[in-house]
């Protein structure tokens, strides 16, 4: 426990001073947004063992909605974020209500199919700008006081959001509700026989995960100033699975570390090898699945537990 606190303190300190070290704040914010997305996804995969193949739908839909509200409707930044999250929550509720009735591969296929529906809506709808995406989204300001145009200020805002989400997820997992989720993960028929309304718990977890993924999408749209089809595409859904598994699903820090690794690789390799990045990352995933199945953080934690 003490070691765990030490790790969090070190990471927190690193996160706080990162932009002062000369790291590019926009890149750091992108890392945080994807880390948040992966943590949200992990709530579903890691703690409830539900594999969604369509999480980009919530991330992307929220990015589009926030972008549209802020750019076209002239809403404030916070209102735009709330609007985006509300839509992804609703989307999560609808898709979740259909999907949680099935398990395993069928669950995954339903989420995939419905996410593709969302993708094609985004491709065809007028307000999303189709192939061009939504451009020039302003960052606006907080409460009309703190302008977020400055990269460093925006960074601390995004960092605050990330920490809030991280703490929130820890709280959920350690709550009695989280215990039930873990029980479902361990043995679903047993949880049913104990009298829990399993579908309802799973739906709540799904909606929570979709909403937090939506928050990550909204923030990303504001940080980078655009929402495009890449946000909502199948590739993005695959990447978040990759990040979570690479870092270690079912651990708290794992998905965040996985997101940092994947996004950094993409950023630096794309300049060198262009679209071959996907092939390289795919190969890394294969190695990860074959050699260290628990992911980076999962393996470290296990090794640590064995030693004690």
């Amino acid at each position: 426990m003490r070691a765990q606190i030490a790790v969090y303190v070190v990471l927190m300190a690193l996160a706080l001073i990162a932009p002062l070290l000369g790291l590019y704040p926009v890149f750091l914010m992108k890392l945080l947004c994807f880390a948040m997305f992966a943590c949200a996804f992990n709530l579903l995969l890691g703690f409830t063992k539900m594999l969604s193949f369509g999480h980009a739908a919530y991330f992307g839909a929220s990015a589009y909605i926030t972008g549209w509200l802020v750019t076209v409707q002239g809403w404030g930044t916070l209102a735009g974020i709330v609007g985006g999250v509300a839509v992804s929550m609703l989307l999560g509720l609808v898709i979740g209500a259909i999907a949680v009735r099935r398990q395993g591969i069928y669950f995954a296929m339903i989420t995939l199919a419905l996410a593709q529906v969302v993708y094609f809506i985004c491709l065809q709808a007028q307000f999303t700008g189709g192939e061009n995406g939504l451009q020039g989204i302003p960052r606006g300001s907080l409460f009309g006081l703190i302008g977020l145009g400055e990269d460093r200020i925006m960074y601390y805002f995004v960092l605050a959001c990330f920490i809030a989400v991280f703490v929130f997820i820890r709280r959920i997992v350690h709550s009695p509700f989280g215990q039930v989720l873990k029980a479902i993960r361990a043995n679903e028929p047993r949880a049913i026989s104990l009298g829990y309304k399993v579908d309802r718990y799973k739906l709540i977890a799904f909606v929570l995960s979709a909403s937090l993924a939506g928050l990550a999408g909204s923030l990303k749209a504001l940080v980078l100033g655009f929402a495009t089809l890449s946000d909502v595409s199948q590739g993005n859904s695959g990447e978040v699975i990759l990040m979570t598994l690479l870092g270690g699903s079912g651990t708290f820090l794992g998905p965040a570390i996985g997101a940092i690794v994947v996004v950094t690789l993409q950023e630096y390799l794309s300049g060198l090898v262009g679209s071959w990045v996907s092939v390289i990352i795919g190969a890394i995933f294969v190695v990860c699945v074959l050699v260290f199945r628990r992911g980076f953080v999962g393996e470290i934690e296990r090794w640590f537990a064995h030693r004690n």
Partner: protein, 401 residues
Amino acid sequence: MTRKSTFVALGALLGLYASSQASAAADQVVIGDIDDMSSVYADVIGQGGVEAINMAITEFGGSVLGKKITVLSVDHQNKPDIGASKFREWADQNGLTMVLAGSNTGVSIAMSKVASAKKVPFIAIGAGGASLTGVDCTPYTIHYAYDTTALGNGTASAIVKQGGKTWFFVTADYAFGTQLQEAATRVVLANGGRVLGSVRAPLGTTDYSSFLLQAQASGAQVLGLANAGTDFSNSLKAANEFGITKTMKPAALLAFLTDIHALTLQTAQGLFLTTGWYWDLNEQTRAFAKRFYAKVNRQPTMNQTAYFSATLQYLNAVKAVGSTDSDKVMAQLKKTKINDVFASDGYIRADGLMVHTMYVMQVKTPAESKYPWDYYKVIKVMSGEEADGSQPDPTCPMIKK
């Protein structure tokens, strides 16, 4: 303990990575090139564009105002998000002083938003969309080589006047395709023609069969191909294979020399197309083409030559005003006549469009072609005003009405 040391190592790595990031260098002129390097449009500019920039820098003397000239280049993979975020990153981190935008109008529109936010001169070359100097115009945008309006006024009007009155469009499904179709449609209607229908094909489509069958079913005389790069060559090849070109006349609304080269004259002969530059126009263009060929082993396309010309114009402007200050350089560029290998009578209009002579060409038959890369004959020379109109685009918010 071990875990702690792991994170200490992680921290050290982060630090290392931070120091490896080049800080913005004020004593450099940094030219960025954001283009499709690996996909549909890679042949139109691609690596040849980087070579063209370097040729311009060498010709200029390698440095300006005693500052080193650096070139950055990235593959945007036809994704607006990659183009815009690279542009922003270079502006924030690498002291970018000017950016050249390669193919893809969607990416260029995304980049233009960054240009106006970061106040960096943004010279769009590969993109055709006329909205770059219309609704999407910015004080820092220059649209250099050609635009969809000129393509419509060139190719579409030549074909309608030859009797091709009814059209069906196969359109690339993004900003460029739709704007090109709009421009061509305006010209067709103005000349008494009719548009019988259109279908949108995603960027990078390889199987055009269903789109072409719809075109054939429409009964139109002209098959308007509102696409470019390998999309254009794939759709034309498929039209040939299905025998559609026997009943419909294909119209290449945008074709580059490299496309014709890939298609071969056998397939492409007789096509009308509009271009702002051709290597075999005069002594000056042939001399440039020879130098380019020696490096790249291909004749330059219109856009690659525009890369060369734009880089040179920019460096001249920097030299003239004695600084890389964006506003001063833009003002200088807008008041300078352009007279070089690319254009002899060019000028930059208030909305950012570079107005210059355009040529309506017809692709030669294999019998007419006398030597390698001898592909076009000039059908019509259009003055810049004829191609693009004499007034700035009124939809551009900068233009006072």
